[in-house]
């Protein structure tokens, strides 16, 4: 029976290609023909994949699709990792979408929340990245994928430059299921620096009239790092990195972790930790890592995406970063997420809200953002079998019984007790548990990282070792103990906190040898973007919004 089904799908693809006719010359489409071509290759009800994560976007193709109307195309089932562009929102407003399955809605989080309220957001589920990519192979295989590449050659081979990101994860399941792959490129050239996607898997190519949208998402200006963030970074370095001898890790993109990166060559060096921690990374090429790399701390970095301005630097440091035969930077989101899941000992990141059980979320009632990749890394990989010092140590603390894993990944939340404007980070219940949000998501609250997976919460008040807690009540008490002067924190019992501290489950900054009087921005290896450029010996080219010289 399988044979018959494939045959139908294959026949359907050739019918679609036949309809294109003179709208394309071979694989090549002129920009003005794109809307009409989309009408011919997409059918009502199709599963359509729009490429775009939080960095690169197939924005020309998305805009062309959004220029169509319900009469042209309807009942589309969108699959996409990120809802990022105004054009994406237009598709919903125009009523062209039957269902959407996605991961993340960063800049459009407010618009998505509005669509949910207006009941115009027919969501299947919010996924993590690899979860969605996996479903592209199983039950969400695109009929048409609209993707973005840096360059194409005359045959239709594609070069993805630094931002490979998720393109292979979309193209492969689509191309190998008789789907149609349509790429927008910045430029068509005679010879590519290297081939990232073979022409064989590409059906159409358009040279877009403007370069694809590419955001500098992971650039953190050291000038904006506060004393409090430095303080917390010092606490984390001593209480987690040093204690567990964390060798392989993933960092989030916040200022807290940027502070840690910038403390390695200074404070980390003073502590004698060079060579003992932070050697292997699954992380994007963060500019704030330049001083640590230049100081010889870092052996290897693999990335899910590139970062604007880091092209020359990463090419010059090919002993640290992945590079192609042409010498330029290479990334891969799906493989990077896989590495972040299995191959690192620690995930450390931040959250907007944490509840008393340690569940965290970035969703608020007026802003639905979703997950991205954090849950793939901020979880316990129960399929892991290889040991490491950090993994075994954390596992031992968790009191392995019969039937338990011998090790644990360190899953660390690094948060200030209050967000900007005195909004408490710690809450009794997450906004994500709001009934209307839960209902729209078919009963699943959008929890980013579950409390059961978290091993540590670090705040300016201290460290709560959730992994070492023996009961839910104990976990809640440990969280209250580091929740400071938030309403959650004010409910702590002094006696219980003292008991937890005596057992090492709660550690105050002074317990790990950090005092606020040591804090100084002068500890940062670079105190501004210009400092990073100087560390890079002029190889880092920061985007203009960061340049004041």
């Amino acid at each position: 029976m399988g044979t018959a089904e494939i045959a139908v799908r294959r026949r359907n693809k050739s019918e679609r290609l036949d309809r294109v006719g003179r709208l394309a010359r071979g694989k090549f489409v002129s920009p003005k023909n794109v809307p009409e071509l989309l009408k011919q290759i997409i059918e009502h009800g199709d599963i359509v994949c729009l490429e775009g994560d939080n960095q690169k976007q197939a924005d020309f193709l998305a805009n062309a699709l959004a220029s169509l109307d319900r009469k042209d195309l309807r009942d589309l089932h969108l699959v996409m990792s990120c809802i990022t562009l105004p054009a994406h929102i237009q598709l919903f407003k125009k009523g062209m979408v039957r269902q959407v399955d996605f991961c993340y809605a960063g800049p459009q989080g407010t618009a998505v929340a509005d669509l949910v309220k207006a009941k115009k957001f027919p969501v299947g589920a919010i996924h993590t990245y690899n979860e969605l990519y996996a479903r592209y192979y199983i039950d969400l295989t695109p009929r048409v994928a609209l993707i973005a590449a840096a360059k194409a050659d005359r045959k239709g081979n594609l070069f993805l430059a630094a931002n490979t990101e998720e393109t292979p994860a979309i193209v492969e399941p689509t191309a190998f299921s008789d789907g149609i792959v349509f790429a927008q490129v910045n430029e068509i050239v005679d010879k590519l620096p290297r081939i990232d996607i073979p022409a064989d898997q590409v059906d159409f190519v358009v040279e877009a009239p403007y370069p694809m949208h590419l955001q500098a998402l992971f650039t953190r200006d050291p000038a904006a790092i506060t004393d409090v963030q430095i303080f917390m970074a010092m606490v984390a370095l001593r209480g987690i990195y040093e204690k567990y001898e964390v060798q392989s890790l993933n960092h989030g993109v916040g200022f807290n972790t940027a502070a840690i990166e910038l403390l390695l060559p200074t404070y980390g060096e003073q502590l004698g930790l060079k060579g003992k921690i932070c050697k292997y990374w699954m992380v994007n090429p963060l500019p704030t890592m330049i001083p640590a790399i230049e100081s010889g701390w870092i052996e290897r970095v693999f990335s899910v995406g590139g970062e604007v301005g880091m092209e020359r630097y990463t090419a010059a440091r090919s002993d640290v970063f992945s590079t192609g035969r042409d010498g330029s930077f290479h990334s891969n989101r799906a493989m990077g997420q896989l590495a972040g899941h299995y191959a690192v000992d620690m995930f450390i990141g931040a959250s907007l809200q944490i509840d008393i059980n340690g569940n965290s979320s970035t969703v608020s009632k007026n802003r639905i953002t979703g997950f991205g990749g954090a849950p793939n890394m901020g979880c316990q990989p129960t399929g892991r079998r290889h040991p490491s010092k950090a993994w075994l140590k954390a596992g031992a603390e968790a009191s392995p019984g019969p039937g338990a894993l011998p090790g644990r990944k360190l899953v660390v939340q690094l948060v200030e007790t209050f967000q900007a404007g005195r909004v408490p980070t710690f809450v009794e219940e997450l906004d994500a548990q709001d009934p209307s949000i839960k209902k729209a998501l078919h009963g699943v609250a959008p929890v980013m990282i579950y409390g059961d997976d978290v091993t540590h919460i670090v705040t300016e008040e201290g460290i709560a070792n959730l992994g070492a807690c023996r009961s839910i009540a104990e976990r809640q008490a440990a969280i209250r103990a580091v929740a400071g002067y938030t309403p959650v924190g004010l409910k702590r019992s002094k006696r219980v906190t003292q008991d937890l501290r005596a057992r090492g489950i709660v550690q105050l900054p002074e317990d790990v040898g950090v005092s606020p009087s040591q804090v100084s921005r002068s500890l940062l290896a670079a105190q501004d973007i210009k400092g990073l450029v100087r560390w890079s010996k002029g190889l880092y080219d920061p985007p203009s919004q960061f340049v004041d010289w």
Partner: protein, 293 residues
């Protein structure tokens, strides 16, 4: 790499402590006096014990100075009635005692919340500065932070004998956002930080001769520059005024039609714009000097 406290990140009190001899600073009208702004209180805006300016006397290399530092974080370092009166009094004291006066400026100009009172205070302080200059008492403005010296404080800084700047410091009258509103984004994109600094930053001001020293963003460097200027003055004479008139006419004639600050840099001896952009203050000064030869 050396670990230094950046001068532009320090608070007013830290800056004063860092550029003067250890323990020598004595504050005038210190915080316990609680001279806070009645205007801000009436408007329900937080007040500050020193009203945004710390004044007093201290020693630099053993030599007595009067010194003031504005608090840029507090209402943009803007000058209100009390703030301005403290500055006026300080310069008058300097003139009376024939003691040099240093003002570390970090201000957007007049504090709008206090209306014309701040405007008059700035005019009064200018008169007091010239009282110093009439007695050959050196007056030195330090402009070393992103907030810089703008509006009336920008003009006031040019009344002093000397200006010490860092590459972070900005000197002007109208800020970039105001100009963008007036001329349009095409003429001045205020989000183009590189252009903003090339328009009003320390490097350009030093090249033009409006800043007398361009130093590292560190208290030690600022202190050294102040120290060198404490024994000098820039007399108000007919000869000097005529020379300055000529110089400013020449500048306007030469660059008045130039929109691109890079052309000004090139015209004044900077050969490699990219290298000069990335250079620190003193490196830049050296490059410009070499280029002019």
């Amino acid at each position: 790499m050396s670990q230094l406290h950046l001068f532009h990140e320090q608070t007013a009190r830290q800056r004063i402590a860092a550029v003067t001899d250890a323990g020598s600073f004595a504050e005038l009208l210190p915080p316990p006096e609680r001279l806070t702004s009645p205007y801000l209180a009436q408007l329900g805006i937080p007040v500050s014990f020193d009203d945004g300016v710390v004044i007093g006397h201290a020693r630099i290399d053993g030599k007595k100075v009067y010194i003031a530092a504005q608090v840029g974080q507090f209402v943009g370092g803007a000058v209100g009635e009390i703030h301005g009166a403290k500055l006026t009094g300080l310069f008058k004291a300097a003139a009376r005692d024939r003691v040099p006066c240093v003002v570390i400026i970090e201000s957007g100009g007049v504090r709008l919340h206090e209306g014309s009172a701040g405007e008059i205070a700035i005019a009064e302080t200018m008169r007091a500065i010239f009282e110093c200059r009439a007695r050959k008492v050196p007056t030195i403005a330090v402009i070393a932070s992103d907030i810089g010296a703008y509006g009336g404080m920008g003009i006031l800084s040019t009344c002093c004998d000397f200006r010490v700047m860092t590459e972070h410091g900005r000197l002007g009258i109208s800020g970039p956002i105001v100009i963008e509103k007036w001329m349009g984004k095409k003429a001045y994109d205020s989000s183009n930080r590189a252009l903003v600094w090339k328009t009003s930053g320390g490097k350009t001001k030093y090249l033009l001769g409006d800043a007398d020293a361009l130093v590292h963003d560190a208290a030690g460097a600022v202190r050294e520059a102040i120290g060198k200027l404490l024994t000098k003055s820039s007399p108000v004479t007919l000869k000097n005024a005529k020379a300055r008139q000529k110089e400013l006419e020449k500048r306007l004639k030469r660059f008045g039609k130039t929109a691109d600050p890079d052309d000004v840099w090139k015209g004044l001896g900077v050969r490699d714009i990219a290298t000069a952009s990335l250079a620190s203050g003193p490196e830049f000064a050296a490059l410009a000097k070499a280029g002019r030869k």
